[in-house]
């Protein structure tokens, strides 16, 4: 029997799927050609594993996982075998979310925990990780973290040669204080709360910063215990004015929001066990695609009995 799964993430190339579950395990499947072959079963957590995240492949095959056991483990594939390469134990409570920063910044992992803190692990080379912690990021707890795509102030070519461009690092977090917060790295390397986005009336369950594929604006999707999904957009360059647009109010908790890689479709999964897909129409309204008008029935992904490639 498959224990309760908490997360599933495809890697950069879409060839591997990492899942994590209540039974403390993290599993990696090869999903090429529609198959599903278990290639690794990573053991090391002592509690349910909530979330997994793939690092950009330029750093090798690296996977981060976070768990109820308060630990964040970073796994790495070396010579075909997966091994624990780092264990972060800096949280006092369950770690609910992990997210890798855009690869342009180097290897940086943001971790949100039920202890209300967010920690940032930066790889400094030779197996060393530097930890920065934002305490009291969200009272009661942080449920989700999501990085903003890499944005450079001004053009790339304005940067002095040989140096890394001065990226403005930002990420969003959602928590049990019903808030979404945007964090920005200051010049001195400290993280500062930049924005507080208020619209939800219950725990924020997930936030997803849209990939900035061709988009002129910054976009964040958020979902909550209150059943609502908001799309936040920021048009001005200073990044200070965010306006929410209600995508939909569901009847149940909304657990996840996930952007397609071109950021034009948002997948939403809720407590009713349905996945719905949403797209912004030309007039700026969010519509559920493949709706009844098109004779598609509901977009709910009804999971029926049946199986192929049983593990």
């Amino acid at each position: 029997m498959l224990p309760l799964q908490h997360d599933a993430q495809m890697d950069y190339y879409g060839t591997r799927l990492a899942t994590c579950s209540s039974d403390r395990s993290v599993k990696i499947f090869d999903v090429r050609n529609g198959g599903q072959i278990l290639i690794a079963d990573l053991r090391g957590h002592e509690g349910p594993v909530w979330q997994v995240a793939w690092a950009h492949p330029m750093y090798g095959n690296i996977l981060a996982s976070c768990s109820y056991d308060r630990k964040v483990i970073i796994w790495k594939e070396e010579n075909g075998t997966w091994e624990k390469t780092h264990e972060h134990t800096g949280h006092d409570s369950s770690v609910n979310s992990v997210c890798w920063a855009p690869h342009d910044y180097g290897l940086i992992l943001a971790c949100g925990s039920s202890d209300g803190a967010i920690s940032l692990l930066t790889y400094t080379g030779e197996g060393q990780w530097e930890v920065k912690k934002i305490n009291n990021a969200h009272t009661i707890g942080c449920n989700a973290v999501s990085w903003a795509p890499a944005v450079v102030p001004g053009s790339l070519i304005d940067q002095p040669s040989g140096q890394k461009p001065n990226y403005i690092k930002k990420f969003a977090s959602g928590g049990c204080d019903n808030l979404i917060k945007l964090w920005k790295e200051e010049e001195d390397g400290q993280w500062k709360e930049e924005q507080k986005l208020e619209a939800h009336s219950d725990w924020v369950r997930d936030v997803a910063w849209a990939p900035s594929i061709g988009l002129p604006t910054s976009t964040i999707a958020s979902c909550s215990q209150d059943g609502r999904v908001f799309i936040w957009t920021c048009d001005d360059t200073s990044g200070n004015t965010w306006s929410p647009k209600l995508l939909h109010k569901f009847n149940d908790v909304v657990w996840h929001v996930s952007w397609s890689i071109t950021a034009n479709i948002l997948a939403v999964s809720g407590g009713d066990n349905k996945v719905t897909l949403w797209k912004e129409s030309v007039d700026g309204q969010w519509v559920c695609i493949s709706d009844v008008n098109k004779g598609q029935g509901s977009v709910s992904a009804s999971v029926t009995e049946g199986q192929q490639n049983e593990q």
Binding site: L2, L4, I157, I261, A267, V275, S302
Partner: protein, 855 residues
């Protein structure tokens, strides 16, 4: 005098007989009477706490559910549990000098007699307390038989006078409160471990504090020989009158018959490391829960021949106490003795996430007790943080609720991975699949088996949904990327081709856009005009790959100057060409033929250049630049230079950005050119307007179109059009946006492993920031030709063997300039020398015996 002596079986049996006699009243009857005595009225109260004077070690609730006793090293008090608060009722620590006997490790309140309590002291003394005593000191009896800390005391659930103790010294003792001594002693040592079985020892002595030091515990020391493991917990079975369980430091659990102290009925290893606690299930006769330092709670079925593990709960800290929750068959509460201050209630069927969590304590929780044996909602706890708490179940935080039961992830191709709680799935599966649902589950990890007792168990189904083309699948992206033509042909052909590709993929809007672009930018009817430049476009790029394959980054500075010289020559030449071509570009008749900007940069290089130049020269009447803004030749072809000489890095680009007009005479020539050709502009402009609007007229529209596609997530279209139209729209879109589109598109291409397309886009891009990507990602690993170790520094000299690495193997001189080497043996030399050498021999000129290969 003090000492030890043995009592024979007869006496022992006799004493037990008493127990058995009293058993004639049915224990169940007594139990129910207890319940009745507690009254049927529901408990009231709220989550609350009160401060104690000192850290608590243990708590126990009176059977009236209205009082609780708290015991610790320096506290021993009874509190009344009122609706709004705890009220101190009695302090049992009396007397001037604090006695070690009052340093309590455990306390237990008799569940039949409201006046009877027992404490276990850290000095090994077991004390009973009679609240009915009229004096201030309620101490009743003192048993000083254990030689080390007593960890646990336990009253018999139905027998008023029977008390059991378990100590660090490895012994369990059963006391009859009507006697001064223990009735029997049980040794935790395994029966087979060699201690004389069947021997019951009676140990008599006075309380330790009055005991003469010299004679103290002679017998006990003997008794302690070959000592067994410390006893951590003892618990009478609730249902089996004679049975009790004990847990040990070494991970063992023993089951005893109280009448048989010689040997335990059963023993098994329950945990890895100490078993700190155990608790019998209040209803299930055979179920025993044990908790250990190994962070696990295990539920054992003791009714079977071998103790069978029926459940295992994995907690995140060692388990110090475990208590079944009343009226909830599968629930139990635990607390830990270190690290974790919380109290958890687990559903044993949901073994990883607690059902409820009480987070009130700021230090380790040491004692937990359900307030009433039939009320599941009130839990009391004492802690090292010197507080006593009442927790209401409804106020508990519920980590299970926090736990996210679903996983969702967008795959690359628009497929979705979705893991969901199976109980939900089970209800869902009753439903009919939606007609026309176009997501097809391609695999399921688990087939639901109706026979499987999964009720209440949490499990997941993981599905991956494919999305059919058109609705969000990314296969169109890959097809389009692979099939689009971006350069190398006249604009009209490119547009036609791309329109065709889009149409074939069912993307009619995109196809229409390409067609419109063709109409806007190419004059009608001339699309198929034969292109003069075709020969150029298809012109071989011979020699180029070879040149490029040498990355001269680390080579001699002399070489750099050489190439720079070459380049400036090239600049001169091609600049002239470009002026011509861009001028020709927009002439109405032949613009198809001279899509200079669409020709891949490398096609313009090398030997072809000469021809190209000649072609234009042969065609002077085409030089009719009508739009002044097209005369920006250097910007149109910035890439050309970089490909020729592969500059070391962005600084070179920087230079160019600063001075787009290269330098000196070339710049002059460039600026002069448009002036020269501007004559003809006027002469033909009328004719142009006759046939169509100038393309410039549409540029704002086209830019809007590009932005539209980009916003739709189709950055591919934006970039493709940008490349195909080249100079026509580039100026109207700010550099940063273009850069952003390029980087987005390149990143997408790389995610789909479309390396060739990605490289082509990088090459064709006009953004300097993009084109330097090609160089940034090229790394050359060089080995020293002497020691064969990788060269780490940038110089010529190997760090390890301190010899010059770039010696020509043929002429033995240092190579300045082009250096060619074999990747197999690291030997090489001057290009000319090596080429010559290889004509005669395929072996390495250095004599290493390697059969060199040069690609």
């Amino acid at each position: 005098g003090p000492g030890t002596h043995c009592v024979d079986w007869g006496t022992y049996r006799a004493s037990l007989q008493g127990l058995t006699d009293r058993k004639t009243t049915d224990p169940m009857e007594k139990m129910s009477r207890v319940t009745t005595a507690l009254g049927g009225s529901a408990l009231t109260g709220r989550t609350m706490h009160c401060h104690l004077d000192a850290p608590a070690n243990a708590i126990s609730v009176c059977r009236d559910a209205a009082q609780v006793v708290v015991a610790g090293r320096s506290i021993f008090k009874i509190y009344a549990i009122e609706d709004e608060q705890f009220v101190e009722k009695l302090n049992l620590r009396v007397g001037r000098k604090p006695s070690l006997n009052l340093s309590c490790a455990d306390v237990v309140w008799h569940q039949m007699d409201e006046n009877l309590l027992a404490t276990a002291a850290t000095n090994g003394v077991v004390v009973t307390w009679n609240l009915g005593r009229p004096s201030r000191n309620k101490q009743d009896q003192l048993f000083t038989e254990h030689k080390r800390t007593v960890n646990k005391v336990c009253f018999h659930p139905t027998e008023a006078h029977v008390l059991l103790s378990g100590s660090q010294d490895g012994f369990m003792k059963c006391f009859d409160l009507r006697r001064k001594d223990s009735v029997s002693t049980f040794s935790g040592e395994a029966p087979e471990a060699g201690r004389a079985g069947g021997e019951v020892r009676w140990v008599h002595h006075r309380p330790p504090d009055t005991f003469p030091e010299s004679t103290k515990r002679v017998g006990e020391d003997q008794l302690g020989k070959g000592q067994s493991e410390s006893v951590r917990d003892v618990q009478f079975s609730i249902r089996d009158y004679f049975t009790f369980a004990s847990t040990f430091e070494n991970g063992n659990v023993q089951l005893w018959d109280i009448r048989r102290p010689d040997r335990c009925e059963r023993m098994f290893t329950a945990h890895n490391g100490p078993v700190f606690c155990c608790d019998w299930h209040p209803e299930d006769r055979g179920w025993l829960a044990t908790g250990g330092r190994d962070k696990m709670v295990k539920v054992w079925d003791m009714t079977t021949h071998r103790a069978k593990e029926v459940h295992c709960v994995q907690t995140i800290a060692s388990v110090a106490r475990v208590k079944w929750r009343p009226e909830c068959r599968h629930h139990l509460a635990t607390c830990s003795m270190m690290v974790d201050h919380n109290i958890y209630v687990w559903d044993v069927r949901r073994p990883f996430v607690p059902a409820a969590m009480f987070e009130e304590h700021r230090d380790v929780t040491t004692g937990i007790a359900w307030r009433h044996p039939h009320d599941p909602s009130f839990l009391l706890s004492g802690s090292k943080d010197s507080t006593l708490c009442q927790h209401l179940f409804r106020d508990a935080s519920q980590p299970v609720e926090r736990a996210n039961p679903e996983g969702l992830c967008y795959g690359l191709f628009g497929d979705l991975a979705f893991a969901a709680k199976e109980s939900l799935v089970a209800t869902e599966s009753g439903r009919k699949p939606y007609a026309g649902d176009r997501r097809h589950p391609i695999f399921f990890k688990r087939k639901l088996d109706p026979a499987e007792p999964f009720v209440g168990l949490a499990s997941s189904a993981l599905s991956v949904f494919e999305i059919e083309p058109g609705s969000g699948s990314m296969s169109w992206f890959v097809d389009t990327a692979e099939r689009y033509a971006l350069a190398g042909r006249p604009l009209a052909e490119l547009c036609d081709h791309n329109a065709k590709v889009a149409r074939e993929l069912g993307r009619n809007q995109v196809a229409q856009t390409w067609t419109m672009l063709r109409i806007i930018y190419c004059s009608p009817g001339l699309a198929s005009a034969t292109s003069l430049n075709h020969s150029v476009g298809k012109g071989s790029s011979c020699g180029l790959p070879l040149m490029n394959s040498f990355n001269l980054k680390d080579m001699a500075p002399g070489l750099g100057s050489e190439t720079r010289l070459d380049r400036s020559k090239g600049d001169t030449r091609s600049d002239t060409v470009l002026l011509d071509s861009s001028a020709t570009l927009i002439t109405n008749e032949d613009n198809e033929e001279t899509e200079g900007s669409d020709v891949p940069a490398d096609y313009l290089l090398g030997d072809v250049e000469g021809e190209e130049e000649e072609l234009y020269l042969l065609d002077p009447e085409h030089a009719h630049p009508e739009e002044p803004e097209y005369v920006l030749p250097q910007e149109a072809f910035p890439l050309r230079h970089e490909i020729v000489d592969t500059p070391p890095g962005p600084e070179h680009l920087q230079d160019k950005a600063d001075s787009p007009h290269v330098s000196g005479s070339e710049a002059d020539a460039a600026s002069l050119a448009p002036v020269d050709s501007s004559f003809s502009l006027i002469s033909i402009s009328h004719a142009l307007y006759d046939t169509r609007l100038p393309p410039d007229f549409f540029s704002a529209l086209v830019c809007d179109m590009l932005r539209f596609y980009a916003e739709q997530g189709d950055v591919q279209m934006a970039v493709s059009v940008l490349i195909v139209l080249g100079e026509r729209v580039r100026k109207d879109i700010d550099e940063q946006t273009q850069e952003h589109w390029y980087t987005s598109y390149i990143d997408l291409l790389q995610r789909f492993c479309l390396w060739n397309v990605s490289n082509q886009v990088v090459k064709l891009s006009t953004s300097r920031a993009i084109s330097c990507l090609n160089q940034a990602s090229t790394t050359l690993h060089v080995n020293c030709s002497h020691c064969k170790r990788p060269m780490s520094s940038r110089g010529w000299v190997c760090d390890r063997c301190h010899r010059c690495a770039s010696m020509c193997a043929v002429c033995h001189h240092v190579v300045k300039g082009l250096f060619v080497w074999c990747q197999g043996c690291s030997h090489g030399g001057h290009l000319q020398h090596i080429m010559k050498w290889l004509e005669g021999s395929s072996h390495c000129p250095a004599g290493c015996g390697h059969l060199c290969e040069y690609s």
